[in-house]
């Protein structure tokens, strides 16, 4: 509490424009802590490598420039892969597709999930039943199996994998958002607006949604982590870009055979994936902790307190944290190489 309280107290007399959007505040606060900084640094490192990599790669990622499983040398810092391509070049070039896919899947999942969760909780009754039972059905499918099913029916299209992963996120997001919305829609300020006879859609958009920013932030990070893991796992299984293209997940698979000869072919992409998931997860963890810490000042607000209390007035959140805590970095990391 004290952490966020101080931040808020420092605001000037209310004249100066303070950025009140909660998510920016939450992000700023999260990145100022140790945990958040580490997460951010790790993520930034991998994202930079993936984004700038294709331009920095010393060789073409698809040309045979050395012997299969060549040991690292001055020309080929990370050696050669299973058919003699430069591992470093492939690693640098093979990340951005994964990142873009993961982000897209996350966005799809969040949009669908938030829409479903907020509607279910706010509209109640029939809608709630309908939406949440559909959610239960989707939840019953394991994500990977669901994606594989779609891919084997329609074919290995990148967009399809993104949609499949996104849809498989939606139920989790919907449940969290539903719980948060249930709590918020009981607040008096929502009732006050309802008393003017405003349409439900408007109430959801203008009253409920702005108050969901902190659980949304937490979900965003969490789902991003999962997306990375699932999509790289699917690539490992070969359901992504077709073979000649460089891809971290696929590289691990290709180079497994030569693990003893040139481990870098496996280790480099695996480490990058691991760092990325650890990074996003650690940062999310920082955000999640703050979102809860923020919520802790409630007594003070109720008692007439001030700023400290108020920061959190919109806040909630037991659930996102639980979720975050359960998923510790080690688990994420170890899951990756064992996907097969």
């Amino acid at each position: 509490m004290s952490l966020t309280a101080d931040k808020a107290v420092k605001r000037p007399d209310g004249r100066t424009r303070v950025d009140r959007r909660q998510w920016t505040r939450l992000l700023a606060a999260a990145s100022s802590g140790m945990r958040g900084r580490i997460g951010l640094a790790l993520t930034a490192m991998v994202v930079l490598a993936a984004a700038l990599g294709p331009f920095l790669a010393p060789y073409s990622p698809t040309q045979f420039v050395t012997t299969p499983f060549a040991k690292p040398s001055a020309e080929h810092l990370l050696g050669g892969d299973d058919i003699g391509r430069d591992v470093l070049s492939r690693v640098l070039a093979g990340g951005w597709v994964l990142l873009v896919m993961a982000v897209a899947a996350t966005v799809i999942g969040l949009l669908l999930g938030t829409l479903a969760g907020v509607c279910a909780a706010y509209l109640r009754g029939r809608w709630d039943g309908l939406i949440m039972r559909s959610v239960d059905i989707i939840l019953a499918f394991p994500t990977v199996v669901f994606a594989l099913l779609l891919v084997s029916v329609i074919g290995p299209k990148l967009w399809l994998i993104v949609v499949a992963v996104g849809v498989s996120h939606a139920p989790q997001v919907a449940r969290v958002m539903r719980a948060a919305t249930l709590e918020i829609s009981e607040r008096d300020f929502v009732k006050a607006v309802e008393l003017w006879g405003i349409r439900s859609w408007t109430v959801m958009r203008s009253e409920v949604l702005p108050n969901l920013s902190s659980p949304l932030m937490v979900e965003l990070g969490l789902r991003l982590t999962y997306s990375i893991v699932i999509i790289s796992g699917l690539s490992f299984l070969g359901f992504s870009q077709p073979p000649p293209a460089p891809n971290w997940g696929l590289m691990i698979n290709e180079n497994l055979l030569g693990l003893a000869a040139n481990p870098w072919g496996v280790v480099a992409p695996a480490v990058l994936i691991a760092l990325l998931t650890i990074g996003t997860n650690t940062f999310t963890d920082a955000v999640g902790r703050l979102a809860i810490g923020v919520g802790r000042g409630n007594e003070e607000a109720a008692a007439g307190g001030g700023v400290a209390g108020a920061v959190m007035l919109g806040e909630l959140q037991q659930f996102p944290l639980d979720d975050t805590v359960v998923e510790d970095p080690e688990a994420t990391e170890s899951r990756e190489p064992t996907v097969d």
């Binding site: 209310g14 909660q22 300020f189 006050a192 008393l195 006879g197 007439g304 209390g309």
Partner: protein
């Protein structure tokens, strides 16, 4: 230090200071007082004054984020603050007992009452020879019969008053030397409150316990405590015998506080205290109250005021003018209560006939009839569970399950708000109880107040802004507030914004549901006066719902007394409060703690 009285001093607190953990910012400091055997000290103050922090510190406890930085708390000569944790644990429960504010959350919901009381006895083995006898004994002391049936009940099977008595029994079970009570009667009905207070007083006297009673309610403290300490901004600003404090307060804050309290006996203009107390870390060099004090002189702002003895009997005041502070007598201006009742004129008024509301299959309102006359204020008073809030929700359309007839401005109202005409929705506005939850924290004051305008009128931007500014002016908020967010406002300011939001659409009738119950008395006074003034100036009809009879006296022209879903008495305010006819009203008026005729004036 302050005793000129004879009995043995049990608790003496000296120079207590509590800081924000790890910082050099004090939340509470320089607090000294003592309590003698069998006496109760009342610790009063508004929210944020540090009274609960002091109460906790006496137990050697500091809330997370705080730490006890200095001072001593001596109980029977032993300093509790220097005890090692093991020793402290032995002392807690055995010689120091604590009764928290909300018994509902203090009792473990899965333990039976018997187990619960027994728990503390078995946690201190050897303290009591026969545990079962003691359980029976303490329950009898708090007027609960220790029948096997009672002992086997769970907390949720008891009423709020019974729960609080179980908490008291637990506290007294080991015959402690010190009992700390933190607003134990907040949330209880007046009659129950009276019983609990009597129990506390009797038990303290019988067993020679030193009691510390923390409360924001001065009337309660007056009934219970022998001496009173008034807290403000983390300092004890006045300390003295109860009688003296209430009759001749020496500190301007105490005096102002007393004038803000509505009286059930007389109707007088309530005088709030403008401004708000400084927060820890932002307290000024000089007197913390200087910014709000009507008697302030330059010296007050320069250095912290000394503690000055006033008269005899250990009366202390932290004020440079302590010995001369006499605020002008209380303004006696009486409200013109009992305004002509134009009940017959239903042109603009509201009439309710045979209103029956239910939750599920349970009927909770059993046929209510009432009228709100044009330009008058109808106060609806009742204890919790009387159905007054349900009534309000039926009127405004939030609770849809009712039968009967409500006419407003000559037109019948539909049950649900969505079925009503926009015109009816506009003319009938509602102000919520808790301003901390009724304003969207993501919107500025301007956006909040403008919002209903946008829905009900199609105004050009400049004109709607003009209206917002004007209505904020009406509730005494300057344009500087336009860009602020709710978290930058105090409780009183928030409630004024909520009122402005209701008024901006020019309603005919305003329903106020316990609008001051989340506010401090000094702020409550401001809000009540504001409502009264607005009601007259804007020719509003007001339905004012409250559990506080004193407020009814302050604002209501007509009063309706509710009990268990029925109206038991109705009439002009002064008639009903001075000459209550129904036994329920009689009891209600009798049981309410009174600040006493002697108080202000």
């Amino acid at each position: 230090m302050t005793e000129s009285t004879d009995p043995v001093v049990r608790l003496s607190v000296d120079n207590l200071q509590v800081n924000l953990a790890g910082k050099d910012v004090d939340v509470v400091s320089e607090v000294s007082f003592s309590v003698a055997q069998g006496e109760v000290l009342g610790l009063v103050g508004e929210s944020g004054s540090g009274k609960t922090t002091v109460a906790h510190a006496i137990l050697g406890y500091a809330r997370r984020g705080l730490q006890i930085a200095a001072g001593t708390v001596r109980l029977d000569g032993r300093d509790l603050l220097t005890l090692p944790p093991r020793e402290l644990r032995k002392v807690r429960g055995a010689s120091v007992a604590y009764v928290p504010q909300d018994p509902g959350s203090a009792l473990n919901p899965v333990l039976r009452i018997g187990t619960q009381v027994r728990e503390i006895l078995t946690a201190h083995p050897g303290a009591v020879a026969n545990v079962d006898d003691r359980v029976r004994e303490v329950l009898a002391e708090v007027s609960l019969e220790a029948t096997p049936d009672m002992l086997r009940r769970y907390p949720h099977q008891l009423s709020g008053g019974q729960q609080q008595r179980v908490a008291l029994a637990t506290a007294f079970a080991l015959r402690p030397s010190l009992l700390v009570l933190d607003e134990p009667t907040t949330g209880l009905d007046v009659t129950t409150q009276r019983h609990v207070l009597e129990t506390v007083r009797d038990l303290c006297a019988t067993y020679g316990v030193a009691g510390v009673y923390v409360s924001h309610d001065l009337a309660v403290v007056r009934e219970l405590a022998r001496s009173v300490g008034v807290m403000y901004a983390g300092r004890m600003v006045e300390f003295g015998a109860t009688q003296v404090i209430f009759d001749a307060p020496a500190h301007p804050y105490t005096a102002r506080l007393l004038r803000a309290i509505p009286s059930v006996e007389r109707s007088h203009v309530l005088e709030g205290i403008p401004g708000q107390p400084p927060r820890p870390g932002q307290r000024p060099e000089g007197c913390s109250f200087a910014a709000r004090c009507p008697l302030v002189i330059d010296l007050c702002r320069q250095e912290p005021p000394p503690v000055v003895p006033v008269g005899q009997g250990g009366h202390l005041s932290r004020c440079v003018k302590a010995t001369e502070t006499i605020l002008p007598p209380m303004p006696q201006a009486v409200v013109s209560a009992g305004r002509p009742v134009a009940a017959a004129d239903e042109g603009r008024g509201m009439a309710v006939r045979d209103l029956r509301a239910s939750y599920g299959d349970t009927e909770v309102l059993h046929g209510l009839d009432l009228q709100v006359a044009d330009q008058s204020c109808l106060a609806i008073v009742g204890e919790s569970g009387s159905g007054k809030t349900t009534l309000a929700r039926c009127l405004v359309g939030m609770h849809q399950k009712w039968r009967g007839e409500i006419t407003f401005g000559g037109q019948p109202l539909q049950p649900g708000v969505k079925a009503r005409l926009p015109e009816a929705r506009r003319a009938l506005q509602y102000v919520f109880q808790n301003p901390y939850t009724s304003l969207n924290p993501r919107k500025t004051v301007e956006q909040l107040v403008e919002q209903p305008l946008g829905y009900f009128f199609d105004l050009p931007r400049s004109e709607s802004r003009e209206r917002v500014v004007k209505v904020l002016e009406d509730v005494s908020l300057s344009t500087a507030f336009l860009r602020r967010y709710p978290d930058q406002l105090s409780g009183g300011e928030r409630q004024r914004v909520a009122i402005a939001r209701a008024l901006v659409v020019e309603p005919d009738l305003l329903i106020c549901d316990e609008v001051t119950s989340a506010l401090d008395v000094s702020v409550q006074a401001v809000v009540i006066e504001l409502l009264r003034e607005l009601q007259i100036r804007r020719k509003l009809m007001l339905v004012f719902i409250t559990h506080n009879l004193s407020l009814v006296r302050a604002i209501g022209h007509q009063v309706v007394v509710m009990s268990e879903g029925r109206i038991v008495e109705t009439g002009p305010t002064d008639d009903v409060l001075d000459r209550p006819k129904h036994e329920y009203t009689v009891r209600l008026v009798e049981d309410i703690p009174k600040i006493g005729a002697a108080s202000g004036v």
